[in-house]
Amino acid sequence: MAEFEPVLLRRIAKKASPWLEAYRADGGYRALQKALDEMSPGQVVDAVKASGLRGRGGAGFPTGLKWTFLPKDHPGPIYMCINADESEPCTFNNRILMEEDPHQVLEGIILSCYATRAATAYLYLRYEYGRGYRVLQQAIDELYNNNLLGRNILGKDFHLDIFLHRGAGAYICGEETGLIESLEGKRAWPRIKPPFPAVEGAFRKPTVVNNIETVACVTHIIDRGVEWFKSMGVPPDPKNPRDAGSYGPKLYCISGHVNNPCCVELPMGITLRDLVDKHGGGVWKGRKAKGAIPGGISMGIMTEAEFDTPLDFAGPGKVGCLGLGTAAVTVFDEETSIVDVLHNICRFFSHESCGQCTPCREGTGWMLKIAERLRRGQGRLEDLKILEEVGDKIGIMPGTTICGLADGAGWPVKNAIRKFRPEFEQYIRSAEKSSLLELVGGH
């Protein structure tokens, strides 16, 4: 492929000013003007639908389709929630967008609200993003002062208010109904579905929840057109009728044991190996990679042998991962003990499980206890079986929990056990020689 010119990161790459004047000079709010002048809300929805844009938050649900789930002719209000609770470990693409080019995001929000007829948007920002909060608030103030927010935007019959809402620091607030509950001032316990948020969401009104990067893409779909968006990425697999394809540019985060941790924008479908070698500067200290997490910790683990998998919505699934997730790649080198990786994963999910559903609350706690014991050298071979079984049986896929956190908690654990079993077994066996196990009654 010819040299790709970044779109979402275009202004950030040239270190342009984040403020309204500079953004407008770079063609900002052209798309909004175009939409308000020439397109009906329905046409915006159709354009996004035709573009094949899929949610960038992790699940990859088609954005246009999500918008069409809103009830027709609803008397309102309809709410737009923007999910900026970027809490998947090692993911920082939304942060860059919000902090460095806030107007690109805000234009996308305004366009999305125009399309969905939402008159109020809540931007749910994770607490840790203090700078993002200040930048966004200043940008929002600019918009109010320039008739781009509030009543009769750009002189049209379109009104919108955007509120910034800071979370209190919980992974579960990134789940869309958990986010809504948290926004309402409650404990972020994900809701049972149905009803889906599109029917009954925030404050019991129809609600759309979209990711920051998703709405940023909306800006460019309207500005540059559907064909431009579909010109990059991976078309759907004709053999798989459920594959909706992976179009458009995507922000990939690279972190972990690489020489050059960074966030790059590329068309969908780059392989993990290219990403690490060409953009991440290769594995650090001249070592080889042992494996990588392809899209946030909840998506599972890829071994080095699987690095040629393309990172599109369908790719990671083919090697036993849960999906593309947030496309935040974390590499760990060959010196890393998989037992430590497992322990870290278990600790994270045990800490972040909201505690609502029994299988997740107790399952993640149990996995952590086993991982801790394993790491101390008191593991047993049957512990691997238990870990694998728990990893398999918690989540919405087997139906045992309300939200997908448990799937994400189980997936990397069972991936780790299945893909690195010899290493685990060797670790356990080497520890068995000591008498530690007798202390816990393991024999």
């Binding site: 919980a170 404990r187 316990w189 049972i192 045990s350 800490h351 972040e352 499980s353 909201c354 505690g355 609502q356 559903c357 029994t358 299988p359 609350r361 107790e362 399952g363 993640t364 706690g365 149990w366 206890k369 086993i370 801790e372 014991r373 049957e382 238990i386 049986k393 919405i396 896929m397 087997p398 139906g399 045992t400 929990t401 309300i402 816990v440 009654g441 393991g442």
Partner: protein, 552 residues
């Protein structure tokens, strides 16, 4: 009409809106559940009720969903197929139980809930006797003071959140909450805001395990030794249906019994904890007559004929001077028998209604955080603190048409118009008392006073005869609540000492033979008093019978 297939067995559920747990119940299949309760919102979080679900198409083919679903959250529709015995459903339930037991202490031998614990029952039925966890369990500290009446054994909690939802949705006062996250979640109160609303102890019944315990019952008795009878709470005119748990002549606790016609699922703490006087050592234990200023015990047979003769001679002199005062704590049958006795002495003999205790105003729930009542009302504690005013009034109306108040009787007594007075009291000891010192002084002018009561009062200090009454927990009969609902009460303990049930005493006065058998008397009463005609059957059923009621 909707047909649901439970484990391949078709069940007609009519047009009711049921979830899968309820639909399966109709087929006699138990889907285990913790967080779901019919009076609370659905959260589907315990994941105990996981079953496999599908749909039977009109052509007979069945399409099953590819995963397990929670039965509490899934509505039963025409053609719904529920499978509780497939390996997937059984595994899911098994797994949930294993998960719940990971951090649940195995302290059943010292746990109050043992014997009626849903975790014990389900583990026995759906779970495994072994845990695969060899690591240490979490041991969060207990919270002995979560409220005046409730204590929390934090480590036993399985996080079903029933108690939290109860305080938010029914009591409305929202004292309980969940703090911390994941497997460190705990039930707690906001500091300084204890669980002290008047419905607080219901969380103990709601708790499926032994986490929330009643301080009143804690460590008093093992539940498998308790004998349970269906009864009615006598503490206010709501007439909550209850389970009366007693053993060896001691009442140990009261629990609400579901009755959609009376109060629903719950009961208030006043009623629940108001039974202690039944076990009181202050109670009268034998019939006594006052001789030379001192109460002297006499056998029942002698006392009965003495009282009867006293009243007969008074009634012969002047019928209107003979007065029977019926307490609203009497059962309908007892009121009927006493009315028969008094009216049998002379048609002019008078019947009066004893004092009706009214305390404050009706207290409705839910309340908001500031304690103001909100709509819709889900529970009412009534100001009228007696169980059977309407029933006794119906008897009075039948026998003499009008209802004479206790105040009127006192006035007549002061003016010397009462020669013989039968006070069937049976009141519990409450701060206000049923008779004031001034009233008692007025009654002192009556030459013959029979005080038939449970506990000493200003009247029993001078009454010529003091007869021990039986408490409601010791007798059978009928109470009619504020709405005209007739419910049966059943004895849970036998009266101690020489105490006889009130009905038996009235039998003796009436010179009837045999035992006072409440259902038989009820039949007789139903035949004679039109108000009670609907009670002619021998059984009032679990929920009682709503009487065609005039103004109450």
């Amino acid at each position: 009409m909707a047909t649901v297939y439970v484990n391949d067995k078709p069940v007609d559920i009519g047009n009711e809106k049921l979830n899968l747990i309820q639909a399966a119940q109709k087929a006699g299949v138990l889907i285990p559940h913790y967080c779901w309760h019919p009076a609370l919102t659905v959260v589907a979080s315990c994941r105990m009720c996981l079953v496999e679900v599908g749909e039977r198409k009109p052509d007979g083919t069945v399409v099953m969903q590819p995963k397990v679903v929670p039965g509490c959250q899934t509505p039963a529709k025409d053609g719904t197929v529920i499978q509780t015995l497939t390996s997937r459903a059984v595994d899911a339930q098994h797994q949930t139980l294993e998960d719940i037991l990971l951090n649940h202490p195995l302290d059943c031998p010292v746990c109050d809930k043992a014997g009626e614990c849903m975790l014990q029952d389900y583990t026995y039925q759906f779970g495994s006797a072994k845990s695969r966890m060899i690591d240490e369990k979490n041991t969060p500290p207990n919270k002995p003071y979560i409220g005046d009446n409730v204590t929390l054994f934090t480590d036993r909690c399985i996080m079903c959140s029933r108690c939290v939802r109860f305080t938010r949705e029914v009591a409305g006062t929202a004292e309980l909450q969940i703090v911390n996250r994941g497997h460190h979640s705990e039930i707690d109160i906001f500091p300084g805001e204890p669980l002290n609303n008047k419905l607080s102890t219901n969380v103990v019944d709601l708790c499926p395990v032994g986490a929330l315990c009643s301080k009143d019952f804690l460590y008093k008795h093992r539940v498998w030794n308790l004998k349970t009878k269906e009864s009615v709470c006598p503490d206010c005119s709501t007439g909550c249906s209850i389970h009366l748990d007693g053993n060896k002549n001691i009442v140990y606790r009261l629990r609400p019994r579901y009755n959609p016609q009376a109060q629903g699922h719950f009961m208030c703490d006043d009623g629940r904890l108001g039974y202690h006087y039944v076990n009181s050592i202050e109670r009268f234990l034998r019939p006594t007559v006052r001789r030379e200023g001192k109460l002297t015990p006499l056998p029942w047979t002698e006392i009965a004929s003495l009282v009867r003769r006293g009243f007969q001679s008074a009634a012969q002199k002047d019928g209107t001077s003979t007065v029977g005062v019926l307490s609203p704590f009497l059962t309908c049958e007892e009121a009927y028998l006493l009315a028969k006795f008094i009216k049998g002495l002379s048609p002019q003999a008078r019947l009066a209604l004893d004092s009706v205790p009214i305390v404050g105003e009706d207290d409705t729930y839910p309340k908001d955080r500031r304690g103001r009542p909100t709509e819709p009302v889900k529970f009412t504690i009534r100001a009228e603190k007696c169980p059977n005013r309407r029933g006794v009034e119906a008897i009075l109306r039948h026998f003499q048409g009008e209802i004479i108040s206790f105040e009127q009787v006192v006035r007549d007594a002061v003016e010397g118009r009462v020669q013989a007075l039968y006070l069937a009291a049976g009141y519990p000891p409450r701060p206000s008392g049923w008779v004031s010192d001034t009233q008692a002084q007025g009654l002192q002018r009556v030459p013959l006073v029979v005080c038939h009561d449970l506990l000493p009062s200003p009247v029993s200090n001078f009454a010529h005869y003091v007869l021990p009454g039986a408490a409601w927990a010791e007798k059978d009969g009928t109470f009619v609540n504020h709405a005209g609902l007739a419910q049966a009460i059943h004895w849970g303990i036998t009266p101690t000492g020489e105490v006889r049930t009130d009905g038996q005493v009235f039998f003796d006065l009436l010179e009837r033979r045999g035992l006072a058998h409440a259902p038989t008397v009820r039949k007789e009463m139903a035949a004679e008093v039109p108000y009670f005609a609907a009670l002619a059957g021998s059984d009032l059923g679990e929920y009682g019978i709503l009487l065609e009621s005039s103004q109450g």
